[in-house]
């Protein structure tokens, strides 16, 4: 027997807040006004709008507004909701997902989206010729290995049953699969547009999203225009969103103050942060929220003396995290563990390694390094990272560890981390892990698991514990929605065991500060949306229209 999981069944099972069947209406803001334009600025030009390619926080939210996937998130939250899928069934063994598509959803060119488009999009993103940085997320779909090695161009696990039904078979149980289907990489694209544009598809857009791409002047601006036929009725509120690129954050702030800009996409420049926060008029327009981010120091367990767990624990105790958050004007909270506090699976009440330089020195002496040692700390060379590295350097010197700072370009630090014998310590700032999707597993595999501890991998501490890896696999095989709490407990245990081995020093979890113009409306949570940074364009509005 298969169980039917409609929207309400899902929320009941997962213990999420109840929402009605017509969920798009329940999210409509009674105070919202339709119309108007907002201007968002960025320093960098937008690299691409191809949902299979785009993987930076700037284009992530843009693509979210241009495209839809089968799954989606409640605005401003980490709760899954059906997107282009109206409902879905999961087989008892958790291996087969059958998605029923919404009726009559149109692409921006007017063509009706069908199950063939879903299949085409998933085949495309996993095809190595597409060079998608997100292909790896689909590894649990049956036939992934065949397409990945180039044997075939079609995922055998994705079947079109009829125009409205897609059946996806997995090769292994994957409790995160619905989150994967909510990633931008799983967005449904129109085949004819991809074929017409070829390699230049990333400079165009053809999806089913709330906005369509109206204009893109390279190096200057992009204009998104409201999709009048959007399938979520009443949305979006704004007529247009204009993204002006090439704007220094500090200039963007000046323009915001003079009313020319509504959201500075790069945030408040660090040098101006205190000034803005000390001015009540400006501070009132800043919205603070958590983000799924952890900044950490990796300790390379393959390089002596960090192969000694006591040395790693001593380093953990030597770092004054509170003071490091002050280096960035308090825009973060000290971290105790790999997971950020807002992530399901976070271990409440765990204190981590408390700051205690004397105990650290004693532990280091017991480990045979009474006089300390010399080592290197790799760090990305953009502010504030070198300053943070100096704070770390000072803390280490108090227990006798002399760390010389290697301040390099981002790509060079990443390259050094991917070699087993190059970087004894890396401060992760500027390259730190931000969750791809709000699930506890996302902080493990590539950065703490054995899979990532390979040449060119992202596990820069080269930590590989087979027992913990087995636990992680087991946790991700628990696809039964009824066992969701048990699964999260298991993930919590995974990270606690990791902390016993101390391959990382978790330092802080960055907070987000989004600044907006006075005329902008909508719930505060839309401005710190965990999946749409800086704001959820589909749901925000302006007050000075009508």
């Amino acid at each position: 027997m298969k169980k039917l999981l409609t929207t309400s069944a899902l929320v009941a099972a997962l213990g999420l807040p109840q929402f009605a069947a017509a969920e798009s209406h329940s999210n409509l803001d009674p105070n919202a006004k339709s119309g108007g334009n907002i201007t968002v600025t960025y320093k960098d030009d937008v690299a691409t709008l191809d949902p299979a390619i785009g993987y930076d926080w700037q284009n992530w939210s843009m693509i979210k507004s241009l495209y839809d996937g089968l799954m989606d998130y409640e605005p401003g939250t980490t709760e899954l909701r059906p997107g282009l899928a109206e409902s879905y069934e999961i087989s008892d063994d958790g291996m087969v997902f059958t998605f029923k598509l919404r009726d009559g959803v149109q692409f921006h060119n007017g063509r009706v989206m069908t199950a063939d488009d879903v299949k085409f999009s998933l085949d495309r993103v996993t095809n190595p010729k597409t060079q998608s940085p997100g292909a790896g997320f689909f590894g649990s779909i049956a036939g992934y290995d065949a397409i990945s090695s180039g044997e075939t161009e079609s995922l055998s696990g994705v079947k079109v049953i009829d125009d409205q039904t897609v059946e996806i078979t997995l090769s292994r149980p994957d409790a995160t699969f619905l989150h994967v289907m909510g990633l931008n990489f799983a967005s449904v694209v129109a085949k004819e547009a991809v074929e017409a544009a070829g390699a230049d598809f990333g400079k165009t857009a053809m999806g089913t999203g709330a906005f369509k791409l109206a204009d893109w002047t390279i190096g200057q601006k992009l204009v998104f225009a409201k999709n009048e036929n959007y399938w979520r009725e009443g949305l979006p509120y704004l007529d247009t969103v204009t993204f002006e690129v090439g704007q220094e954050p500090i200039v963007a702030l000046l323009r915001l103050q003079s009313g020319e800009v509504d959201v500075p996409g790069d945030g408040i420049p660090p040098a101006k942060f205190q000034e803005v926060m000390n001015d009540p008029a400006q501070a009132a327009r800043v919205i603070e929220g958590g983000q799924l981010h952890t900044g950490y120091i990796t300790l390379n367990v393959k390089m002596p003396p960090f192969d000694n767990v006591d040395v790693r624990k001593a380093v953990n105790m030597a770092i004054n995290k509170e003071r490091i958050t002050q280096v960035i004007n308090g825009r973060a909270v000290p971290a105790t563990q790999p997971l950020p506090p807002s992530m399901p699976g976070y271990t409440e009440g765990y204190e981590g390694y408390a700051y205690d330089p004397d105990a650290a020195k004693a532990l280091l002496a017991d480990a045979g390094f009474a006089d300390g040692f010399e080592t290197e700390l790799f760090v990305m060379n953009t502010d504030p990272n070198p300053r943070i590295a100096q704070a770390i350097q000072q803390d280490l010197s108090k227990i006798g560890i002399k760390a010389s700072i290697q301040s390099l370009a981002q790509a060079s630090v990443i390259a050094a981390g991917g070699e087993p014998d190059q970087a004894p310590m890396i401060w992760s700032g500027g390259m730190a892990w931000i969750a791809d999707f709000p699930d506890a597993s996302n902080f493990y595999g590539p950065i703490l698991g054995c899979d990532g501890a390979v040449q060119g991998g992202w596990n820069w501490s080269w930590y590989c514990n087979a027992d913990i890896d087995a636990m992680a696999v087991k946790a991700d095989s628990m696809t039964d929605p009824a066992k969701v709490d048990e699964r999260l407990k298991m993930w919590s245990d995974v990270y606690m065991k990791v902390m016993e081995d101390a391959p990382w020093v978790p330092v802080f979890n960055e907070q987000r500060y989004t600044m907006k113009s006075e005329r902008m409306g909508g719930d505060d949570k839309l401005y710190v949306d965990p999946v749409s940074i800086p704001v959820n364009y589909d749901y925000v509005y302006v007050n000075d229209v009508q």
Partner: protein, 306 residues
């Protein structure tokens, strides 16, 4: 004359070849792997290897370079690794803005530099002269990033005479042009001052005055054209200085030129874009120098071609 130009053209081509080789080699030696930037952090080693092979980055250096040159002579600069767009398209869409900014900067440095230089020369030794030379000294030494932000703050934010950065109208051009041109203006005012003082001492000026011409007429018809020659010949060389300056100035003013493109590409190790912008800039510098040489031939017949 023709032989000289042909010879210089051949030299220029060799210089460009050298630039391409050195840049390509430096990017090849960079301890950063563009493939991993493309493949993303969820990629398996097999995916990374696959993409590396697709881009031909698994080939030896000499093969990669030969292939790049082969495409280059056909006018193909390749595609951006991360944007997947043709590099030539990206550069072509941004080059006009950079050229416009340079034109603005040239006008600005000439107008400011020559005026300041002439006035200082005529008021030589006075407080005006000292003040002007002090100003030119500041212009030469001030970092463009600081000048740009100061200009924005004073003239755009406080006085609201100009828009706060951006591109499109003549008003948008004023502040970035001044910021980019201020360095040249400083140089030129000093050159103009000494050149002017030199010319004013010449016999023909005294003759012109002696035959009863007015001060202004002597200045404009006789002194200025002679004093300005060395400056005109310098403009071509300025192109090189501008190429460095636009990276900063475009960034401060949100000017959509190739400087911004280069800056972003460097941060993301997008090698085809870095190569493309470097080559285009090198071309501009080579052409600028060529024009400067030819211009000085015409400007001063005393220069002999050997």
């Amino acid at each position: 004359m023709l032989a000289f130009i042909v010879k210089r053209l051949i030299q220029s081509a060799l210089i460009l070849l050298g630039v391409s080789l050195i840049t390509f080699a430096l990017l090849y030696l960079l301890p950063a792997d563009p493939v991993r930037q493309i493949a993303g952090r969820s990629a398996t080693p097999e995916t990374v290897a696959n993409i590396r092979a697709q881009l031909g980055l698994d080939q030896p250096f000499i093969v990669q370079y030969a292939r790049y040159l082969g495409n280059l002579v056909q006018g193909d600069l390749g595609r951006s690794y991360l944007q997947k767009t043709e590099v030539s398209t990206l550069i072509a869409s941004r080059l006009p803005a950079s050229l416009l900014l340079m034109l603005g900067a040239i006008v600005c440095e000439l107008v400011l530099g020559i005026t300041m230089g002439v006035v200082a020369a005529l008021r030589r030794g006075t407080a005006t002269d000292n003040a002007l030379m002090m100003a030119s000294f500041i212009g030469v030494s001030a970092p463009q990033f600081v000048v740009g932000l100061l200009m924005l703050y004073v003239f755009a934010v406080q006085l609201q005479w100009f828009p706060i950065g951006g591109y499109g109208t003549l008003a948008h051009m004023v502040l970035p042009s001044i910021t980019l041109g201020i360095l040249g203006a400083g140089w030129y005012s000093r050159m103009m001052r000494s050149s002017m003082i030199d010319v004013l001492r010449q016999d023909f000026i005294r003759t012109a005055r002696a035959k009863g011409l007015g001060r202004m007429r002597v200045l404009l018809r006789h002194a200025l054209p002679n004093a300005i020659l060395p400056i005109i010949a310098m403009i071509g060389i300025d192109v090189g200085i501008f190429m460095g300056g636009i990276v900063v100035v475009e960034s401060v003013f949100g000017w959509p030129g190739i400087g911004q493109l280069a800056w972003q590409a460097i941060q993301r190790v997008d090698i085809p874009i870095i190569m493309g912008v470097t080559l285009v800039s090198a071309c501009a510098i080579v052409i600028g120098n060529l024009v400067a040489d030819i211009a000085s031939l015409f400007a001063d017949p005393r220069i002999k071609v050997r």
